[in-house]
Structures are given as C-alpha cells and as structure tokens.
C-alpha cells in the first residue's frame, strides 16, 4: 500500500495535478514534431507547405516515398551506411571485448598502466587537425578504412564492458581453467565469450547506432561520392539545399532530384527523415533498455 495515499493533503493533490500537467506538456512537446514528420511525409505537399496539415495526414499520398525509393544516391548511401555499420561494429567488438576482458583480470600485470594510458586521452588529445593529418598520412582518406579505424574503439564502452566482466564472471574461474591447463585464449573463446552474449549485444547496439548516425568523419575523410554514407546524402537533401550559396557543392544527381520535384520537396524531406531513421526505430525498444543500463553503469563507476 502506498503510504503517500494515506494522508495526502490538499496541497499535495494540487502539486500532483501540476506534476501531471507538466509531464503531459513535456510529452506533447516531444511527441508533436515526431507525429508531424510522419504525417507530413504522406500528405499532399500543398497542404504541408501551406500549414493546412498540422497534425494528421491530409489527402494521403505515397508519392514522396515513391520518389525517395527511386533515388540512386539514397540507395547507395543506405548500402554504404549498412556496410560501415556492420563492418565498423565488428571491428569495434574485436577491439573492445578482449581488451575489456584483459583489463578485468586482477592477475593481468600492467592493467593499471594500460588503464591510465587510455583514460589520459579523455583529458588531452591532439584535436581535429593533427588527428586529420595522421589519418591522411596513413593514406586512409577516401577509403572505407577512414570510416572504421579512427573510431575503432571508444573508451567509455571498454569501461562498461570491463565492469560487466568484473561483476558477472565468477572469480576463480580463470584459476580453475589454468589449473586444467587451458590457455587464456582457449578460456576466452570457450567460456568467457559464451557468457558475454548480453554485453556483446549491448556493445553492438551502442557502436551500431553511433555508426549509423555519424556524419562528421565522412565529411572530413571522404570526398569520393561513391563512398558517401546515408547521413552525408541526407545532409545534401535536408541542409545544403536550403542554403543556395552552397548549392554548388551538391552533386548534380541530388540537385536535379530536388529541383525537378520542387513541389514535392517538402514531403520528400520528411520522407527521408523517416526512411533514414527506420532501422533505429526498429531497434528502439532494445536501445532504450540497454542504453539506460549503460548510462547507469557509467554513473556508478564514476
């Protein structure tokens, strides 16, 4: 039984009224733009542009989506992004999981020095220009490697994974295994990995979303259009198109796409927002659950 209910005063009731009012306000403010985008993407462009459509779809049409799905630049970007996300996440996992496991072992001599070496970079780093020059000197510009190697591992994720190992792998497991003559490598493959399915899934989600949503590395490291990820194609459609002075930077394909469809431009924009975010929406229930846990582990380990 809720003790709050027992002697709830008038002031408390009024306060709870305010709480529900404020939360509902927050709910509507966040939800409205999301509903608007969905509605706008399937409404008559004239109704969208005039403001006549403001909540629910008007004169439903799928013309916007038809044009989006026929566009080569978007398809190509989509495929490249899927590739960067899958390949990049695989590299992230290969770097993160074994490192975090080694650091979680109390009998791993040097774990402190390695930890300090990693954590130090949170406070000092070379900055944008020297990092860019290193990537360029390595010859990674305009290769797919530029999309995966400069972000091969994130310190925060190593920390979270290490905490997971420390709290779930029973102590003494290593000793038992070594007494049985198993090498660390064998132990990791045969025992640790099967035990770490949950953390691998979480890390895959963390890194995967990062790859899917990022645009900046592609912006600075890629000039070859055929390598563009979806977010850079989106940037041309959603952002550059609005700024006439930047139109020269746009590929002929994208410019033509938008200009030939002038009246449809608005609903195409809302449509690409949806199309590009679909995979994220699909995994959102998992994201919410695991990301929240990730934030909490981080805060405990502060």
């Amino acid at each position: 039984m809720d003790i709050n209910k027992i002697n709830e005063t008038k002031a408390d009731k009024m306060f709870m009224g305010f709480v529900y009012f404020a939360l509902t306000f927050a709910l509507i403010v966040v939800l409205y733009p999301l509903i608007y985008i969905i509605s706008a993407s399937i409404s008559d462009p004239a109704a969208v542009n005039s403001g006549e459509m403001w909540l629910w779809p008007k004169n439903v049409t799928l013309e916007g989506y038809r044009i989006i799905l026929q566009n080569d630049a978007i398809w190509r970007g989509y495929i490249m992004t899927i590739f960067y996300t899958v390949f990049g996440t695989m590299i992230n996992l290969v770097f993160t999981i074994p490192t975090a496991y080694a650091l979680s072992r109390k009998d791993f001599y040097g774990r402190r020095i390695f930890t300090i070496m990693f954590v130090l970079t949170m406070f000092i780093d070379g900055g944008l220009i020297p990092t860019y020059l290193v990537v360029r000197n390595l010859g990674l510009i305009d290769t797919v490697w530029a999309m995966v190697l400069p972000n091969a591992v994130a310190l925060w994720n190593i920390i979270i994974t290490r905490v997971y190992f420390q709290s779930t792998i029973p102590r003494g497991l290593e000793e038992a295994a070594t007494i049985d003559g198993a090498s660390n490598f064998k132990l990791f493959i045969k025992i640790i990995l099967p035990l770490s399915a949950p953390i691998i899934a979480v890390m895959a989600l963390f890194y995967g979303v990062g790859h899917w949503n990022s645009y900046f590395n592609a912006l600075i490291y890629l000039s070859d259009r055929s390598l563009y990820p979806l977010q850079l194609v989106l940037r041309e459609i959603l952002v550059l198109q609005e700024m006439s002075s930047n139109n020269l930077n746009m590929s002929g394909q994208v410019a033509e796409f938008l200009h030939s469809q002038q009246q449809l431009a608005a609903i195409i924009k809302y449509g690409v927002m949806i199309v590009s975010t679909l995979p994220i929406i699909a995994v959102y229930p998992f994201l919410q659950k695991y990301f929240v846990k990730g934030v909490m582990i981080g805060s405990i380990k502060e």
């Binding site: 002697n7 403001w54 074994p98 927002m273 975010t277």
Partner: protein
C-alpha cells in the same frame, strides 16, 4: 576487509618479482588481447598529441610533424590580433552559457517530476517518448529544424501567422541562432538527461519519506529536503563536466545549422578550426586555434573542480 601485510624482507622482494614474472609469462596471451587497442590509442590518440607541435611550426605536408620549421607563437599572435578573435570567443561562450543555463536545470526538474509519479504505465510512456529524440541523428535534427522553421513552408511560422504575427526568418537572422540551437538541444536531450538523476533518486531510502510523511511534510517539502539533497553530488559532477566542456559544444550541429546569413552569431571556435584547417588547409594556424581552445577548456575544468572540492565534498578528482 583488511589484507595482511607481510613484513618486507629481501626474500619476499625476490619472491614478488618472481611472482610478477610468472604472472606476465603465464598471461602473455592477455597482452595480445589488448594489443590492437593499445596500437589504436598510440596511432589515433598519442601520435596526434605529438603532432600538436605543428601549432608552433609551419606545417609542410612533405616535411611532416617533426621536419617542419619552428615559428614559435606566430600563429597564436595572429589569432589573438585578428578582427574575428573576440567574435569567436563571444559566440563560443555565449552559446555554451546559454545552453548550460537552460539545458542544465531542465533534466533535473523533469527527473524530480517523473520521480513523483508512481503510475508506472504513464511514467514509462513519458520516458519512452522523451528518450527517443536522443537517437535521432544530428543531420536529421538539423533537417527538422530547418524544415520546421522555414519562413514560407515551416509549421512554426504557420502557427505564428495564425496568431496574427509576421513570419520570422529564424535561420537567416543571427539574433535567433543561439535560441534555435539551445532549444532544439533541449528538445533532443532533456528526456535522456533525466536517466542519471532518476537512478540517483532511486537510491533514496523510502523510510526517510515515510518518516517525513508522518511528520506532516508535503510532497514539495520532501522534494526540497530529501530528493534534491540526494542528487546534489550528481548535479555537481555533471556541472563540473559541463563547465569543463564549455568551449567544446555540439559543434557538429552548429556546422550543419550555419549559413552565410547567420554566421555572425554561429561562428564558433570549433567551426572556425574546421573551416580554416580542413577547408582552407591552413593546418598550423587551425591547430594553434584548436590548441588554444583545448587549453582554455582544461584550465576551466581544473579551476571548477578546484572550487567544487573546496566548497563541497564532490569533485572529479
């Protein structure tokens, strides 16, 4: 738990050394596990750190970091004496402080309100919806801002006109830039920002509340005297981290929202570094500006942490 400290004798020193060597040999494969990550940090973090010396040099690509000629503080003086120096500082600090003033308290308030709700379905609905924008890419966010705020076709201006006002050109009026930046950030991150406070609030001992209820404390009183004191350490830590980051705000979003018309308000140090360094290829000058920014940031972080340590018990280190 107390560990027994053995008396140190030459024999144990040798024994420890032997033990250490055995540990290293026995676990040699663990070094292979960590090797890729160590290489990653050396190549992509430590070599760029070494490369920051180009801020004091005239970097010529063919000569490399080491071979380029030293010029001392030339790039720094050029930056300090440039006509845009104070504009950059003003914009950078202006956006950050505005963002902090609005964006820092809101997640705390939302978390305190959410914490009062015991109806779990409603609570979970609010959380599910308000967390969602966190996962939207910055490009899509920028696209939404530009589309919604368009003076001709944007829904916001439709409402403004409906209320009988003139449409506002949010994106081409420098006056509006900071507000647009800050409030779109509020929309995207307030919900997400509540998580850390909600987890701190879940640590409140229910008995404290029960005792307070029996003493006749109202909900509001309990928030002020029980809940808020509980989350103050979390608030302090986040405030220190935010203040230490004050010169390094969400520059990816600014870069997307920037256009020639609003540039007088949107030109911040980070976008300036990108522009001069990567678009104009003045590597050394841009690296110097970036280094200046990083040094200010570090100084701020250390100062704020020092003040926090002196005035409260919470600090980063």
């Amino acid at each position: 738990m107390k560990e027994v400290v053995p008396p140190i004798s030459p024999a144990t020193v040798i024994g420890n050394k032997k033990k250490k060597n055995r540990k290293i040999i026995q676990n040699w494969q663990l070094y292979l596990f960590i090797l890729p990550t160590v290489l990653y940090f050396i190549i992509f973090k430590y070599i760029p750190m070494y490369g920051i010396q180009i801020a004091f040099k005239d970097y010529v690509p063919t000569l490399g970091f080491t071979g380029s000629e030293w010029v001392g503080f030339e790039h720094f003086t050029r930056f300090f004496n440039s006509y845009y120096f104070w504009d950059l500082i003003k914009n950078t600090l202006g956006i950050s402080i505005y963002e902090l003033a609005v964006g820092f308290p809101l997640p705390i308030i939302l978390a305190l309100l959410l914490n009062e709700v015991k109806d779990s379905v409603y609570k979970r609905t609010v959380q599910t919806v308000t967390y969602a924008p966190h996962f939207i890419s910055v490009v899509v966010i920028a696209g939404m801002i530009i589309a919604f705020l368009s003076p001709t076709t944007g829904i916001i201006n439709s409402f403004i006109q409906l209320l009988g006002f003139e449409p506002i050109s949010f994106m081409s009026d420098p006056k509006w830039f900071k507000t647009v930046y800050v409030f779109s950030g509020v929309w995207q991150s307030t919900g997400w920002g509540t998580i850390i406070y909600l987890s701190a609030l879940s640590g409140v001992d229910p008995q404290q509340h029960e005792a307070a209820i029996i003493d006749g404390a109202t909900r509001l009183q309990r928030i002020f005297y029980i809940n808020i004191p509980t989350i103050i350490p979390t608030m302090t830590i986040l405030l220190i981290m935010n203040l230490g980051n004050i010169m390094a705000m969400g520059f990816e979003k600014i870069l997307l929202l920037q256009n020639p018309l609003n540039k007088s308000a949107s030109n911040v140090i980070a976008t300036f570094v990108y522009e001069t360094g990567l678009l104009d290829t003045q590597y050394s000058f841009a690296a110097a500006v970036g280094l200046f920014n990083a040094v200010i940031n570090a100084a701020l972080l250390i100062t704020v942490n020092y003040i926090a340590k002196k005035t409260s018990e919470t600090s980063l280190w």
